[in-house]
Symmetry: none
Subunit: 211 residues, 4 copies
DNA sequence: CATGAATGAGCGTTCATTCAT
DNA sequence: AATGAATGAACGCTCATTCAT
């Protein structure tokens, strides 16, 4: 029976509508921020992109900067969720899977990440709040993974911090042109293949070892 | 016997003075661009940083954008000079040296490079004119280096393009936090050591190979 | 039965309001342009004259030059309408009437015309777009009128082009001080009288002919 | 004997040199003012036109406005000299000569007069100081000439003021396009011919009188 | 006397934000 | 809730003028 609409339902429905609108604005804004940069994007640009009056935006966000913050936060939430589910790195196969999954996640939010990188590159607050604080656990986990294997005599005695950085760098290198918008995103198969090659190279190096 | 002050001397002295002033402005502007971004930096900011009237800047540069271009070009010239001197990649030792030299070069112009990256990240023209067109030879050279070794059975059959990207990524990974301004630059010894570890890892992988 | 306030009414009302505002700005600007010239008049001057914020002007015009263009165009429209209605010059009486009507039209938009003359005096584009291209038909018509009468032996064999120019010059001479703002506009009676004297003098000359 | 150069000579020579330089600057400036208007002409424009440093101009004139004033004054002096020599208007032949001489004088200083008209059109001070006060005697003389002839029954009973205005207007009409820069200056023969036609038309009208 | 360099004042224009409706 | 209109506070840039040399 929906004849009677409770105020609570009404409220939540309204809230959902607002949240939906916020998302629409954020997506449009992210696209523009990615393309032209945050500063160069005007509120008029955003308003036109979502076919609204400029002043209407201020019903959903308190300022242009607030739109950016919302984009970064929203992105951060998704990353957090995914990073929480990062399984322990047991073997090479699971490593490949993790790398593939991370690539997929990042690529599925290309514009958001392009904006994130652009802003983090100059704004220290953004760098700390949305990049370092989020990725530190991953780096720590990677370093631990490496350190343990070095102690066990499985890995060469490289600095774990540098090793972790190189691993991340290799996998980012593969997708950076896509993030930057100068290359098409890879197909899922291609992506998995990339992940395999990256893990293989990082693990065994470029040289074929003579037994 | 020349006149005490020949007109030619006078002219060159004047030119040197102008060039010196341009350099002062470029350095100050690069610092601000790196910190706040090109758009967010005002001509007033730059003028105050070099303690000049705003209009005086326009005696040395024709526009704010012209200051940016000068910074990017100046940087590009240095890169070009260095890339021209890139020796052929013969052995691992020379590889390490090249990586070390590149790191040194990039780190010696930290702010300029930070600006370059920031602008290239959003401005396609900058990306092509100052990054892709300059670095393409390096990437090509690297790919060729890899392809040859794969054919000779020395390297694993990885995609040369991906391999080249990973090599560059690894070496950039080591210095990115310095460029970003969140880490102190490495000492020359430390830098050489980094180069060695990077080349070692890229060459032989993380795993110790069992014979 | 229409809605109390139909959207169409709303829209046209808004449009009328905008048009009214544009007119207010144009009148104030024309006064300033006439007094100090286009270049010497600042957007601040105009804004203060209409008691608006400077930036508000840009909601109605896209640039300072656009205000000028609107003034010139607006004036041009009126002239066009009037010139279209120029009756054929049949006899001296209709000639007087035409001269009177032209004078009235020009004097009714004194400041606009003062601006037009000032700008046409230095800006070739304005001269061609708003003066020559508009008045050429009048001059042509006058020349034709003269040429026919010369052929019929009614007029002296003067150059038609010079004759046309002198006719226009005489009638402009009568009102130029008013346009310039150093003389009060003539009453309608005075104006008609002026027209009569001008046509009389141009027709029969200053000298009383001895039969 | 000029071996001994007196300080007085030196001084006057210096003064002549200065006066010569002032003239060079005024001519260049007048050309620019005529072309682009006073406001739109920059001191840099003028300096470049005379191949001087901008600041050097200030050794000869105290301000940009001062250059304009000098141009207008210089022009006024020449006009004054000529107007003083205006012979009494005795007969039609002398009238034609006067008109021709005035045309020649005005056309020989085309740019100066174009500037004068432009400035007088908006600047009341210029209008009074350089136009009205100079030309009033001419107009008065013309009015008197007309009034006398009306009284003697030679001229039709037109308002002398209007008659004078029409005479001047007719002769200006003939050369205005030259002043404005859209027509080539007439040859001396053509000019004399124009003067004749103008005086003829003004005197006897367009219509051929039937005896 | 000539000038390169410097600059304060001000220009036309933009834009994030506010507010009345 | 939505928006057209308004605007203050800048912005990049120009230019007449000054001044040290």
């Amino acid at each position: 029976m929906v004849n009677h609409i409770s105020p609570i339902n009404k409220e939540t429905r309204r809230e959902r509508r607002i949240e939906r609108q916020r998302k629409v604005i954020m997506d449009a804004a992210a696209g523009l921020f990615a393309q032209k940069g945050f500063q160069a994007t005007t509120t008029k640009d955003i308003a036109e992109a979502v076919d609204m009056g400029e002043s209407t935006l201020y019903g959903y966000f308190s300022s242009k900067r607030d739109v950016l913050q919302a984009i970064l936060s929203h992105q951060a939430e998704m990353v957090d969720a995914l990073l929480d589910n990062l399984a322990e790195l047991k073997d090479r196969q699971s490593f490949v899977e993790q790398v593939d999954r991370l690539m997929e996640m990042i690529l599925s939010r290309t514009v958001y990440n392009r904006v994130l990188i652009a802003e983090a590159w100059r704004d220290d607050e953004v760098l700390w709040a949305y990049v370092i604080s989020r990725w530190q656990p991953v780096m720590d986990s990677l370093q631990y993974f490496i350190a343990v294997r070095i102690k066990d005599g499985i890995f060469r005695p490289i600095e774990p911090a540098l090793g972790a950085r190189m691993i991340v760098a290799c996998f980012i290198a593969a997708i950076m042109p896509v993030l930057r918008g100068v290359e098409a995103p890879p197909s899922p198969e291609r992506r998995l293949n990339l992940a395999r090659m990256i893990v293989e190279t990082i693990s065994n190096g470029l040289y074929i070892q003579k037994g």
